[in-house]
């Protein structure tokens, strides 16, 4: 989910950059040197997850999975997502430098929220785990698309219809991300519960 260069106004770009900077600073502070490799390699996994294409009818969309990254990393998800987006910009030209801040906010804020909202529900029961995962996936994309719409709307009120169109277009993605995140969380709890932060203690 990227907003392209050349669209947003100066105040929106500046706000995005400032928020992303603050969040990254906070996240970096939370990562000590024993965990930094973990964060870096999960950032790579997040990058690669976006290369996974799943079908919806005749079309296909790629996974985003910021919900999972949030669940697994908490605040540390912010620098991880920044890293992945920067590398995507370098390799695929999905975006440039000026929108990097806004894009980080769009992807990372819902991820961090998902961590605090849904992590406590994981592992209570298989059904609840799936539902929590489903909601984490769905909610992350919903909130990301709303943030993206807001960025456009703050730039120019005339982008209202465009924003609505974008949010609507993401509805099928939300459902798919929900299902995939649900199964993925179920998988993680079964196969490697140590990866879920709470379970470590």
């Amino acid at each position: 989910m990227h907003i392209s260069e050349g669209v947003l106004s100066a105040p929106v770009l500046a706000t995005g950059a400032a928020l992303a900077l603050a969040g990254t600073g906070l996240g970096l502070k939370k990562i000590d040197y024993d965990r930094i490799v973990h964060v870096a390699i999960l950032a790579s996994a997040f990058f690669v997850a976006s290369l996974i294409h799943v079908n919806i009818g005749p079309a296909s969309v790629h996974l985003i999975l910021n919900g999972i990254v949030g669940l697994l990393l908490g605040v540390a998800a912010i620098p991880a997502i920044l890293t992945a987006l920067l590398l995507q910009a370098v390799f695929f030209q999905y975006g440039g430098l000026t929108t990097l801040g806004v894009n980080v906010v769009v992807m990372a804020v819902p991820a961090v929220l998902a961590h605090y909202l849904f992590l406590p529900l994981l592992g209570k029961s298989p059904t609840l785990t799936f539902i929590a995962g489903f909601l984490a996936g769905l909610f992350s994309i919903l909130f990301s698309s709303i943030l993206l719409g807001l960025a456009l709307w703050f730039t120019n009120q005339n982008f209202f219809e465009t924003s609505l169109a974008i949010i609507t277009a993401y509805i099928p993605v939300m459902i798919i991300e929900g299902i995939v995140t649900g199964f993925c969380v179920t998988f993680l709890l079964k196969a490697y519960p140590e990866i879920i932060p709470k379970k470590k203690k």
């Binding site: 179920t186 998988f187 079964k190 196969a191 490697y192």
Partner: protein, 247 residues
């Protein structure tokens, strides 16, 4: 699936296959010919990077050859669709079992293939159990994959390939990183199968124990050893008082 397979009929036949990876000029396969017949047990020993894995991937339709024809069960395969049909009849054991196992538990993983073939859940689980039983590893059906040892993973990977009841097996270095006990188990299992297979290995003794002929590869072509004759030779070993570990 309607393939009629009689003894000595050709199962896989590559004719004049050339292949190079996109963006490179090196011909990894260079007018290569290979035939695997019903009942064949063929080994292949060749250096790293000589194109063995590429060869198997070409048979499975993963690498599209630049020229030449691939026939499986006497049928020429051209399009992705032709390969789809045939892939369930050829079992490929990957070089690294970790590449092959992605379900949470052993049973899930072995049942994955049968489910894709259209079996019902209960039938798929049934098939999976039977296959694990046959390999003598039913006792860890509930185990989580990444907590298994290398040898155990190998056996599970083999089970998940066999569960699809393939008519040919392609094995890519099945013994890499395995200890001698598991190796012997594998030799025993392979020798008790009654399907054709093609085994890549870096270990002569293993390949020798499970196959009837051994090929090699050089410059993108197969080197064939049709005659097999007995040869006797001596080594000198330093070894201690413990049971001598020797393949």
């Amino acid at each position: 699936m309607g393939f009629i397979v009689t003894a000595n009929s050709s199962v896989i036949k590559l004719e004049d296959i050339s292949f190079s990876y996109p963006g490179s000029d090196t011909k990894i396969l260079d007018h290569l010919n290979l035939e695997i017949k019903q009942g064949d047990r063929i080994g292949m020993i060749a250096p790293n990077g000589s194109g063995k894995t590429t060869l198997l991937h070409t048979i499975m339709g993963l690498c599209k050859p630049d020229s030449g024809t691939i026939k499986v069960f006497e049928k020429v395969l051209n399009h992705e669709k032709d390969f789809l049909l045939v892939r369930s009849k050829i079992g490929l054991l990957f070089q690294d079992s970790d590449d092959q196992l992605f379900c949470p538990t052993v049973l899930d993983d072995v049942a994955f293939g049968p489910l894709n073939l259209g079996f019902s859940r209960t039938d798929a689980i049934d098939i999976a159990r039977k296959t694990l039983e046959k390999l003598g590893i039913l006792y860890f059906e509930k185990s989580v994959i990444h907590k298994l040892s290398g040898g155990q993973k190998r056996l599970v990977a083999l089970a998940s390939v066999l569960a699809m009841e393939p008519e040919v097996l392609l094995l890519d270095e099945p013994t890499a990183g395995l200890d001698n006990k598991v190796k012997e188990k594998l030799i025993h299992i392979l020798n008790s199968l009654d399907i054709s297979y093609f085994v890549i290995s870096h270990e002569f003794d293993f390949a020798n124990a499970v196959t009837d002929k051994i090929y090699s590869m050089e410059n993108g072509r197969i080197l064939r050893d049709d005659e097999i004759h007995i040869h006797r030779h001596e080594h000198i070993h330093k070894h201690g008082k413990h049971p001598h570990i020797h393949k």
